[in-house]
Symmetry: C2
Subunit: 485 residues, 2 copies
């Protein structure tokens, strides 16, 4: 039933932004702006006694003045005014209220904690469900609902519930750069009413969501959360970042969402048993989500690696092996094929990882590395292929651009024609503004655009890729074992 309430919240025929404002530097303005800008097709009602019109929409002094039903309310009022609003919502038949409003239990003040408790009691009595308080609310690209700037309306398959709005915004922007898109996102703050267990349950049933990711500071309903998790984890990958792990973190959690961080050991053990995937940082979570978003199930650890020079090959061998992969030798068939194609390398110097810098000049320029990658793609000896983009080739920028473009052409062609999982390592650099005009960095960014457009996962380093993709392998192995019982 909670899932149905959330489903309704994601599909409102009308939204009222209460505490709306004509001041562009206020959230009361921004929520109205985001609805318009993202093409929300339901009715938009700014509510404020201080403005007659906001962004071309008539503003109503109070909720009760709206000559229509209201399905969903975004509340930007100060904390002291929220309880009265709930009464109005009740009278108006509003089912779900998102409280952007903050300054409740997270302040640590007794009066604020009391106000929050009263808020919950009042909401229950009024039959209104709450998202928040102290949160950014919903992002649902299909409906044109968003809570920050430059959120695309193009939908995807990642469903998220984040206790932190800021971490959520940051994650979404970084994920966009990887080509990841979202089904639905919930920033839920203090989790006073609807909580992590409700959201997890909702996403477990949501057909638009194939991957679930969550940032959690403290759980409100641990037992149900773990139970739901153990149900959903074998069906959809769930990636969880538990924040507030140490003493300082737990204190920070109290100030942020008023949650109890709880015992980390108990949490980790319980979560591991459910089969959920744990991440320790936003960056790690992004790499793991990238893996699940673009790669199919992988059950083996035999990795074939091509590209870059000798140092990159040696480090790749180390980093993939250390993460748990098996950097297997080239199969006799591939060795034979290399001998046939490049007789001058008859004695088997070329190995896995394939160091392209040892190729004869002609073979290098014609991207023979890509040919070996293709052989690997057709071979049953590999479970996963890695293309290291050869950014360190000692070419001038125009030569480098032409060469790497051929490398990427071949990668995209292989991915289109062979069903083998493939990931790319390409560090486009942490750029300064003057580097935007530099041919080297423009070239790498162009390559990345093409790879992302071809739906290929791109990682900055071998270790980040390896440590993310091994989670995917372990996840699908566990899932297979569970199902084969």
């Amino acid at each position: 039933m909670v899932s149905q309430e959330l489903e309704d919240a994601f599909h409102p025929r009308s939204i009222a932004v209460v505490g709306a404002s004509g001041n562009p530097a206020s959230m009361g303005y921004r929520y109205v702006y985001h609805l318009i800008h993202n093409g929300y097709r339901g009715k938009i009602y700014p509510v404020t006694p201080h403005w007659s019109e906001i962004l071309g929409f008539k503003a109503y002094p109070f909720l009760r003045d709206i000559p229509n039903t209201i399905d969903y309310v975004i509340c930007c009022l100060p904390a002291s005014k929220v309880i009265d609003l709930l009464m109005e919502c009740s009278a108006k038949g509003v089912k779900v209220v998102h409280l952007y409003t903050a300054r409740f239990s997270e302040t640590g003040r007794e009066d604020s904690v009391e106000m929050e408790t009263e808020l919950l009691q009042r909401a229950r009595r009024c039959g209104v469900r709450l998202i928040g308080p102290n949160c950014m609310g919903l992002y649902y690209p299909r409906e044109g609902i968003a809570f920050s700037y430059d959120f695309t309306t193009e939908p995807g398959t990642v469903g998220m519930f984040f206790q932190s709005g800021g971490a959520c915004v940051e994650f979404i922007h970084q994920a966009f750069l990887r080509g990841i898109r979202f089904s639905k996102v919930i920033s839920y703050g203090n989790a006073l009413d609807l909580n992590e267990a409700d959201f997890l349950e909702y996403f477990s049933h949501d057909r638009e969501t194939e991957i679930i990711a969550s940032y959690i500071e403290g759980v409100k309903d641990g037992r149900r959360f773990l139970h739901t998790m153990s149900q959903v984890a074998p069906l959809k990958p769930v990636i969880i970042l538990k924040a507030g792990r140490g003493g300082a973190g737990a204190r920070a959690v109290a100030s942020h969402t008023g949650a109890l961080a709880g015992s980390l050991k108990v949490w980790e053990t319980a979560i591991r048993q459910t089969g959920a995937i744990q991440a320790l940082t936003i960056e790690e979570m992004l790499d793991i989500v990238t893996s699940f978003y673009f790669l199919p199930p992988i059950l083996g650890t035999r990795v074939g690696i091509v590209g870059g020079g000798g140092g990159k090959s040696v480090l790749s061998a180390d980093e993939w092996e250390e993460a748990g992969f098996n950097v297997v030798p080239l199969s006799p068939e591939i060795e034979d094929e290399i001998r046939k194609r490049l007789p001058e390398l008859w004695w088997g110097w070329l190995r896995n990882p394939v160091d392209i810098s040892i190729l004869p000049e002609d073979a290098l320029i014609n991207n023979f590395g890509g040919e070996v990658l293709r052989m690997m793609a057709k071979s049953p000896s590999f479970d996963l292929l890695i293309a290291n983009i050869s950014v360190s080739a000692p070419f001038a920028n125009d030569e480098l651009a032409a060469y790497l473009s051929k490398e990427v052409d071949d990668i995209i062609d292989i991915v289109r024609n062979e069903p083998k999982p493939l990931a790319v390592i390409l560090d486009t650099g942490a750029l300064n503004i003057q580097d935007f005009d530099h041919l080297r960095w423009r070239c790498l960014a162009e390559l990345k655009s093409r790879l992302v457009a071809a739906k290929i996962p791109v990682y900055s380093s071998p270790s980040e890729a390896a440590n993310a993709i091994i989670r995917l392998v372990n996840y699908y192995r566990r899932r297979k074992n569970i199902r084969s019982y």
Copy 2:
């Protein structure tokens, strides 16, 4: 004495590029180009019987035809012709030859291994020292000597010796983005003659070098290397990346530089005892070098963290604590000062890490976070300050740019006026080419440029920064203990 030979190699009055070429797609062309392009002021002599002139410089058919002394030779000849060249070098009085030439022991072929052995014997007999074979050679910005494109001539204090040329090129390009500059760099490949112990000894005495970084696949002279390391590590930080750590890595090392990867356990223990700092990846090494390059010695672990929202604050607390730092509470003096400046936050809600999203709107806009950072900078309660750039603020791009610009102004002002070590966390994103035109990413790249220009270390994430800077703290603590014996 070896150090003097290397010193001479870095200061040649004349350089001959043997196997030079007019073909821009050859290294025989590129080495001549790099010398000209980087403003090398000594004499440049292309040597080849196939061209009469290269890039405006007269080409000589053979070394002996040059009507002048030659201090240093860059050799791009095929492997089979190198031994004859050494005879000519001897006759001409050349002291050091850099062999870009490859295809020796790294091929694994018996005849190539034999040729390499003969090469060494011949070099010894001729009194010629060798760098390489199978390497990129020297980068010395002060002299205008370089081995790849877009290497700046602006000098710095990092001295490096890398067994892999490609890893070296990649590291240098990434380091430039951080604002790091180099004293001297040696890419040394197979280490047939001059080896890692020679280079380490050289950098230990080199006055232009304050930080030493090295990528090593296998050591040739382990005893002397470790002895030298134990001498130099207490004087200059030495950061070492040992590649070829596992089975696949060791095989890759053999194909790359013909080195024996050796026992990892023995290596790690021995290196740790010398006080050198070990890195596992290029990315980690870059973060550690960044720390030593920009931060002064730090002996304590009390960190003060400001900026970003609640999620960033919680995660920062976790990640800094997990790395070994102490996220201490705000001192009573700072709490008093906050109360004085912001009476509405009288009850001590604002903590360390300082979550700026809980500030009253005016205080937020006027960057009160920067004020707290300044208080921390003046306080004896903190050993290190971290500024999280507030990239997730829910502002429109123009507002965000103005706000973050103020944040960065304040950071730069604090760094200029207070002696407290400070580092910045700013993820500028792995950009696609279309993101170059996007205000959000342009803004972040502009901020990074300003921070880098102000010589402030910038890291992509809290965990990367924390794990790098704790190495610096541990290094200086160890050094202090050694010295106080």
